[in-house]
Symmetry: C2
Subunit: 358 residues, 2 copies
């Protein structure tokens, strides 16, 4: 087997020691004689691992006690529906910061809910989403303002949050949770699909300030944060295996020194690639320097045919999944927590070689 | 490691060869150098495995081409919401057959949807759910009638469907899909959580007759069968790993001879246990003979303290998860497809010994 590096935007590379541990204990979890794949969600073995996963995530992100931590299903896309249903209950109105494709999807889904108004309060569409929106037009009362903290496709990311005094922030942290430090207290709610920095696909983490919820709301159970919180995310059968792997990843993150250490490492890795891109005569990064993501780096040659050749040649060289999102084309290297520096070095080396040859 | 048998109602025992294969190929799926846990849902490797899983399920259940097969998340509980949203669109009314706990949960969730009326059209509550409802009171027009084909907690199961001419049937097949033969053409829709006979928790299979759906309905994407079908269940990141394991289980079911062969085996296994229970002076099965499930066998001693001793002693003997559901107490042995006959034999042997001693 040739050594490969997986630059996929998600599902994405996981820490090698986590995959080794999953493999080693797959036939018998903690000497139970049962695989984790066969484990009842009402067993103490499961309850212990779910509680440990929550506790480790709380430590890693310094999540205050008055926030619920939920392990749900359905990805970020279901949160585009659940967040308005659960949180847009006073003014029935939310403000959306239009920073790219996934922010737009959040608006599309909110618009489908009867009685909910979703206003774009800031947009960088005019800038082709190569930067983050800067001008806010707030007009009246919003239950919350929705921010996409890292724009996986466009490669922009919030280092600092916009100053929006008095507003509740809801953050889609799908592609940089645990990769960039944020202060949970700045948010009313955070959500993230697991399949980038947390674990396999099929798990969605929701962190929500409990007092924003209405205990009486009585939504359909699977769409109701209150009901899910009351049952510790085991209202019905949770995705046991995905939560188990997430728990192993949380322990790995702790062993690496936590979020701050990984952020530093991510900045170094991204810096390597951006430095090369900014000095290359063939390639260029598409996002503006001030707003660049440290986890997703889109780049182009400016020639679509050459982009295609590059993707093919990189794949052949074991540098996998560097094709850009179908909506924007070009290339993208996703450098999540589990991507080793050696992977970025191999990519840059390959790009230099490619540049010499073209 | 002592040999154990896992009688959990779900997540439940999986075929040993499937777990062995998952373990063997975990570090590198099909020589890709990437774990299946890291596999992009836009890769051809994933698309191929998802297509094969669908095709194998279609073969196993003889699913006609005019039915969509969807691989979703959220379990049966989310289907209690999605089925009415998608299907109760003409009369805004469904009939629910109240055969036990999960049927009741289906009604509770339907009742939460504004504008939807959910009528109980038959009930065996008066019989403490030890049999299936027999008397139907249909009154007007229903978009569909909801049946729980196997009542996991109460241990009753439909061998034949009730005769309800002109009605669309929606079947919750969570605990006996692929374990008992049904004719898909008798249903407008079937759904099943994977975590009993299909694979790990975190996957829900939906089989729906396409012409029952309204192409224009425009529900929130994750709740919309039409949108999910158009995107082949990859509208957002699907639960890749759970679909992969489900695909391996489908291949295993085919190797065993398909649904009819497994049904026969399940009848034999359940027969062993029921025969003993019907002749025991200590234990008795709680479900009435005519409606007994072949996958879930609840039983009691009639003495709650002794039940507790039995559960403890059985656990110590490696016969795991025989405790009944918390809502009914007693014991329950779940005998899904992957439970070998040797497991049932070991359980009966242990029960005989226990009976002699108590």
């Amino acid at each position: 087997m040739t050594k490969v590096y997986n630059f996929s935007a998600g599902p994405a590379v996981l820490p090698a020691p986590v995959i080794e541990q999953v493999q080693a204990e797959l036939p018998s979890y903690h000497g139970s004689g049962m695989s984790i794949l066969e484990m009842s969600h009402r067993s103490s073995l499961y309850e212990d691992l779910a509680a440990a996963a929550e506790e480790d995530l709380r430590q890693l992100m310094a999540i205050p006690d008055d926030y619920d931590v939920l392990f749900l299903q359905g990805g970020g896309t279901l949160q585009f529906t659940m967040a308005p249903l659960n949180l847009a209950r006073h003014y029935h109105r939310l403000g959306l910061v239009d920073s790219g494709h996934w922010a737009d999807r959040a608006k599309e889904e909110a618009d489908l809910l009867p009685g909910i108004q979703a206003d774009v309060v800031a947009s960088s569409k005019g800038d082709h989403y190569t930067s983050l929106p800067k001008d806010y037009h707030l007009n009246g009362n919003y239950d919350y303002i929705h921010l996409t903290l890292n724009n996986t496709i466009e490669g922009t990311m919030y280092r600092q949050l916009p100053q929006l005094p008095g507003q509740v922030l809801v953050g889609d942290m799908s592609s940089n949770i645990l990769a960039q430090r944020y202060d949970v207290k700045d948010f009313g709610m955070i959500y993230a699909g697991a399949q980038k920095n947390i674990g396999p696909a099929g798990l969605t983490v929701v962190i929500v300030k409990h007092d924003l919820l209405d205990e009486q709301q009585n939504l359909p159970a699977m769409l109701d944060y209150v009901k899910q919180a009351k049952k510790h995310s085991a209202l019905n059968t949770p995705p046991v295996f995905a939560i188990y792997v997430a728990g192993l990843v949380f322990k790995w993150v702790k062993e690496q020194g936590g979020v701050d250490a990984l952020q530093k490492r991510n900045e170094d890795k991204a810096g390597l690639l951006y430095d090369y891109l900014d000095n290359s005569k063939l390639f260029r990064a598409t996002a503006k320097p001030a707003d660049r993501s440290i986890t997703n780096v889109p780049f182009v040659t400016g020639d679509e045919n050459l982009d295609q050749v590059f993707v093919q040649d990189a794949t052949a060289a074991g540098l996998l999944n560097v094709k850009g999102h179908r909506s924007v084309g070009g290339m993208r290297a996703s450098l999540y927590n589990a991507m080793p520096k050696a992977g970025v070095e191999a990519l840059v080396k390959f790009m230099k070689q490619f540049e010499m040859e073209h």
